[in-house]
Amino acid sequence: MLVVGFFVVALVAVGLTRSDRDYTDLSIHNPDANGVMALAEVARERGVALRQISELQAANIGDPMGTTLVIASGADLFDLQAQSILAYPGPIVVLGDSAALQAELSDSFATVMSGATTLTAACTSRAAAAAGSVSTDGRAYVGAPEDASTCFESEGSAAYVAVHREGQGDVTFFASPESLTNGSVLDEGNAALGLHLIGGHDKAVWYLGSFTDGSFLTWSRAGDYSPPDVDPSADFLPPGTGNAFYALALALVFVAVWRARRFGALVREPLPVVIRASEATRGRARLYRAAGATGRAAASLRAAAAVRMGRRLGVGRSSDSEVLVNAIVRATGRHRDVVASLLYGPAPQNESQMMTLIDQIDALESEVHRS
């Protein structure tokens, strides 16, 4: 029951915390200044079916000629991925710097920082003409392919490069994706340019990947075989592996129930008291120590030693101290005053005096017992 309850709580928690908002740069679900939700929402209102993917293999485009592929994060692409993107027959829009894609088109095609931040359109491109002027973050392209048309130029670089492909959709580069974010989309003609770039067709796919994505673009023409949706995380294991582990995890609940069910209740054991008889004595010793009761401690040890020696020498407990001292003097040959001061002398003032006294009494006692 507990296990089932835990699962329910976990599911509810995941359900509550999950929403379609995120906070990634250039995400169409990001309403913050670094997102592009504003542009995406306007495009949606204009009838463009826009969806965002984080892995190329999830694109799965069934209608390439009517679908715009937007590469919003091209910087992390591998060469082979770039080739798979350029093999796409529909229109392609590349935002920002993408070394792999640029290198496929021309060796000299590169991204630079130009000083200009507000550029004016001076070309015939429909998108650029509609925008009129744009604000950028200063990035621009140089060395565009020979047959490409450029726009928003300044000092030999261009922020907009369109490569025309015969029988296929154009490949359009725009150097400054920051211009399209929620924070700057209202500047100059940024909004118009953005809408023209992604709204060229009824459908658009917004690729926002990361370096962890190693997959290739998937698309098919109408009538082609379309592979089924597969779990994208298990790309190096057979497709059923994840589900098999899922089934094993479910079986774990059975194992828990099997092991947790007791074969009858635990049996109570009435235990005896475990206090040691010497506990009280040790407590008293700690009290002596805490109080520094050297006098009292020494008196106890002296009295006990006197009783033991008296027993050895045949002096009764009730006898006078004189009798005992005399008996000890006879037995050991020590001076009478020494014996008397050891057993009945002044109380020690500190611990070191006490230790010395005890040592001397022990020595005396051993002499008595030897005699």
């Binding site: 089934a247 099997w258 230790m355």
Partner: protein, 430 residues
């Protein structure tokens, strides 16, 4: 209801179709099917009430000896029943393997034996007997715990009985039954017999000698039919541990040895376990009858965390004892006896009876007194010495009234007490 490992295994097999079909729904479907199968299996299992269960144990066992609990399972239903039974005991009952599997056809009956080696004296209650009956698929079954009232009485070990033969031999010497140079001591006239060399000439009965041609001596023997009243103090001080066990265990050993010895010597022994009220009582005219009764009565006695009510004890003794007796107090010699009324109680008892106070001393205390390793150890030695002096003072106060005091380590108390008893008997002080 319970499920078996087979159910878990079957559920785990769901990974195969989930792998092949690559679908989570399959995994869920499989698990639900397994669950349904298990429920069905549990439903199909014979009901637990169709089995009869009985547990039998011997009524008592001596500590350190082994016994066994026998569980009988009978299939009263018309169907075959397969499953297991657990014969649960508290840990100190020292139960061996206590889970037994069975497969019984209709009307069949089987017995299982669980070995028991109790580790502590007292009443060891058997816990419930739990039954599991498997369903036909072995995936799940029914489980039920049946409260079966069983009590095993674990008697005191009576390890001190090894001292008994020596004490009995000494007793026979006192009786004059053994051939020894010294004639039997005692004050009670026994018989006349012929003089043998070595007899004390003072015991020659001249009148009898005059009537016969031989010299005749009187023989005496120790008094018989004396009363011995043993009080086992179960107050708070009897709970503290000395060596490995509570004080009361050593006191109990001494009590058992003295009872065995005194009843063999022909005295009438009464035993009471007392703190504020009487916890156990045993009395018997003869040894053969007394010892089992006594062991059985003392078995469940446990220390009580209360101060012993000494005046109530005096009242109890005066109720039980109509004539002079030997009163043995198995208690703890402690400074607290000074102001708990114990000394007055002992003095009162001593007026009419002979009192012996027996106490278990702590072997740890000797080590503590000898400690000189550090300041702390010296303080401990001082505290132990002080406790010893205080105990000596209490013992001296008790002896002043004529009572005997015996203080001994746990293992020595029983023989020492028996020796004191023999000495008192020999000197005719009973």
């Amino acid at each position: 209801m319970y499920i078996t490992g087979w159910t878990a295994l079957l559920a785990a097999l769901g990974a195969v179709p989930a792998f092949l079909l690559a679908d989570r729904g399959v995994a869920w479907l499989w698990v639900l099917c397994v669950l349904a199968l298990a429920l069905l299996d549990a439903l199909l299992a014979p009901p637990t009430r169709s089995l009869g269960v009985r547990r039998e144990v011997p009524s008592s066992v001596r500590l350190t000896e082994s016994t066994a609990s026998t569980v009988t399972v009978a299939n009263l239903s018309g169907r075959r029943a397969r499953g297991a039974v657990r014969d649960a005991w508290a840990p100190s009952a020292g139960a061996g393997p206590n889970r037994h599997r069975f497969a019984l056809s209709s009307g069949e009956m089987t017995r299982f034996v669980t070995p028991l080696t109790p580790r502590r004296r007292g009443l060891r209650e058997g816990s419930a007997v739990t039954l599991r009956i498997e369903g036909p698929l072995r995936l799940a079954g029914r489980q039920k715990s049946l409260p079966v009232d069983t009590v095993l009485r674990v008697l005191p070990e009576f390890a001190s009985r090894k001292h008994l033969p020596a004490r009995l031999a000494r007793l026979r010497e006192l009786d004059g039954l053994s051939p020894v140079m010294m004639r039997g001591a005692g004050t009670e006239f026994d018989s006349l017999r012929e003089y043998v060399i070595g007899d004390d000439v003072r015991t020659i009965d001249w009148r009898a000698t005059g009537r016969r041609a031989d010299v005749v001596v009187r023989t005496y023997r120790p008094e018989r039919d004396r009363r011995v009243f043993i009080v086992l103090d179960t107050g708070r001080l009897s709970a503290s541990r000395v060596g490995g066990a509570p004080r009361i265990e050593a006191s109990m050993e001494a009590c058992l040895l003295l009872s065995a010895l005194a009843s063999r010597a022909g005295d009438r022994v009464q035993v009471t376990a007392f703190d504020r009220v009487e916890r156990a009582r045993a009395q018997g005219p003869s040894d053969a009858a007394l010892m089992p009764v006594l062991a059985s009565a003392l078995a469940p006695v446990e220390p009580v965390l209360a101060e012993t009510d000494w005046s109530a004890l005096v009242r109890l003794a005066s109720e039980r004892l109509s004539q002079r007796a030997l009163v043995v107090l198995l208690t703890t010699l402690d400074e607290s006896l000074m102001d708990s009324g114990a000394l007055q109680a002992i003095a009162t008892l001593q007026r009419h009876h002979q009192v012996v106070v027996a106490s278990v001393s702590d072997p740890e205390e000797d080590a503590m007194i000898a400690g000189r390793g550090s300041v702390e150890e010296v303080y401990t030695a001082a505290a132990a010495a002080r406790a010893g002096l205080e105990r000596d003072a209490v013992a001296a106060r008790i002896r002043q009234g004529g009572a005997e005091v015996v203080e001994a380590l746990p293992d020595d108390l029983a023989p020492r007490l028996a020796d004191i008893y023999l000495a008192l008997k020999a000197s005719g002080r009973l």
